[in-house]
Amino acid sequence: MIELEGLTKRYGDKLAVDNLTFTVRPGTVTGFLGPNGAGKSTTMRMILGLDHPTAGSVRIDGRRYQELKDPLTYIGALLDAKAVHGGRSAYNHLLCLAQSNGIPARRVDEVLDIVGLTPVARKKAKNFSLGMSQRLGIAAALLGDPRILMFDEPVNGLDPEGIQWIRSLMKSLAAQGRTVFVSSHLMSEMALTADHLVVIGQGRLLADMSMADFIAQNSQCRVRIRTPERERMLDVLHTAGITAVEKDGGLLEVEGSRAERIGELAAEHRIVLHELSSQQSSLEEAFMQLTAGSVEYHAHTGQAQQTGGTGPAVVPAQPVAADTKKES
């Protein structure tokens, strides 16, 4: 369990984290989302006692981080995969961490095996790819078999096999009753992994709710219907008070009604369906909707860059940045 209370961090006159209060509970994977510059990393660093909060406090299982004896056995964290001395071997890197917390050296071989780095355990970390470094970082987090795990962008650089692995690893860690706190920018990954979401923007808490609630609150549910008896279906829907929109290819789209209800209606009127699928907004769309106001580095959308004598079509700037997309 990680408890944050009124956590605040100020750099100069910039408020990086602003009065953040939430609890990360055991038994679920909690996703930690926010645009770049929202204060996610700063928050994670304060949880680990690396940065001193300007105000507020963080408790790990009820205690301050500095008070933990052998902290790696309470909380394992992957912050920055490349934060390893390049000249040290993977084995020695983990060994020195294990020793500092009184973890037996055999555990090092074990975690290396878990993450699949045993063949390169004695190689220098300098030559590791980002994916391998990421695995090393995950191994370090698992070292103390802690009850709380914190991962910052765990799938960065992992290949698809590794992504699937970390996905199920996090789920099984949570299923064992551990607290798993994951930050990521990859909404498709988050949608597959997290049960609960904490969303921040510009240092403030925007949402702290379950994944399903989050998507439901920040999006609209659509149902797609394909049927050979289009006219009849429309009539049926109309009498039931449901408005359907005709799309090309004989497709009908219904907003604000559930697929179950439409299925029952069709069966009642013996209408044959060729497709009946509910199109839930993706987490990505829901997230865009929520954080639209707190994005810090907007890609330039206009074509205003044709200033110089550099000629036309200087730049393939996108008129299709976040704003236009989420309205559709």
Binding site: L50, P71, L79, G87, H93, Q99, S100, N101
Partner: protein
């Protein structure tokens, strides 16, 4: 608790190549240069001036390489600390050991112990090999002040490494630390100690005060206000100041 952190720091130190490189370089350079100079000195002792012969210090001669060897010791001390920062490892380390004072103390203790062992070996090796090459001119450990000078040589090297660690903990960047320490020890300290006007101040600088302990024969006309152990004490004060500064900054800063 502390023992496990010390074991961890020992793993860190022994598992990087720079430790082996810098320490073996310190040993080889100091001993080899000392031997070379000792051999050359014996060869031409008859031709020396009378005055030089009177103040001839066989112990100090065998430590001739110390001036260059300490360069490697400084690099060792600086890299031990700044490696953590330049790689980002410091965050992992401080997450594993949140007690920053204990962390720094363990790191310095392990590195100093290692530097002390290497320094002692270097010092004794340089002495014995140097004396062997000096032949009849040589002295022995039994002579007055000689044992002190040889042990002092080892202590001096360890203290130099500690001082570098303190400075490095304050500055965090290897380039900056080396950029300040190297010119300081090699040029500024030497110049300040040699120019009469600044000599009074210069002789209280860490390396000048500390290297006093390696001298057995005091040259004529020497008016240094401290003895061998006093000099080492002055150096130790510098070391304590540097380490205290490093600790205070580490505690205060965000990692």
């Amino acid at each position: 608790m502390t023992t496990q952190i010390i074991r961890s720091e020992w793993t860190k130190i022994r598992s990087v190549a720079s430790t082996v490189w810098t320490l073996s370089l310190a040993l080889v350079v100091t001993v080899a240069l000392g031997m070379l100079v000792s051999a050359l000195t014996r060869h031409g002792f008859e031709n020396m001036r009378e005055q030089d012969r009177l103040s001839f210090d066989p112990t100090y001669i065998s430590f001739a390489g110390m001036g260059l060897g300490q360069l490697a010791m400084i690099v060792f001390g600086v890299l031990v600390v700044t490696n953590e920062y330049s790689t980002g490892m410091i965050r992992t380390s401080l997450a594993a050991v949140p007690q920053r004072g204990v962390f720094l103390a363990s790191k310095v203790a392990v590195a100093t112990a290692l530097a002390l062992v290497v320094g002692m070996v270097t010092s004794f090796l340089a002495f014995f090999l140097g004396q062997a090459l000096l032949g009849s001119l040589g002295t022995s450990l039994g002579e007055e002040g000689v044992l002190r000078a040889v042990i002092g040589g080892g202590l001096y090297m360890a203290l130099i490494a500690m001082f570098s660690m303190g400075i490095a903990a304050m500055l965090r960047s290897p380039m900056l630390s080396l950029g300040i320490l190297m010119p300081f020890f090699f040029l500024i300290s030497g110049i300040l100690g040699a120019v009469p006007a600044t000599k009074k101040f210069g002789q209280f600088l860490p390396d000048q005060a500390g290297s006093r302990i390696m001298q057995v024969v005091i040259p004529a006309g020497d008016d240094t206000p401290y003895g061998p152990w006093g000099g080492l004490g002055i150096m130790a004060l510098w070391v304590i100041a540097a380490l205290a500064g490093g600790y205070l900054l580490l505690r205060k800063r965000d990692a």
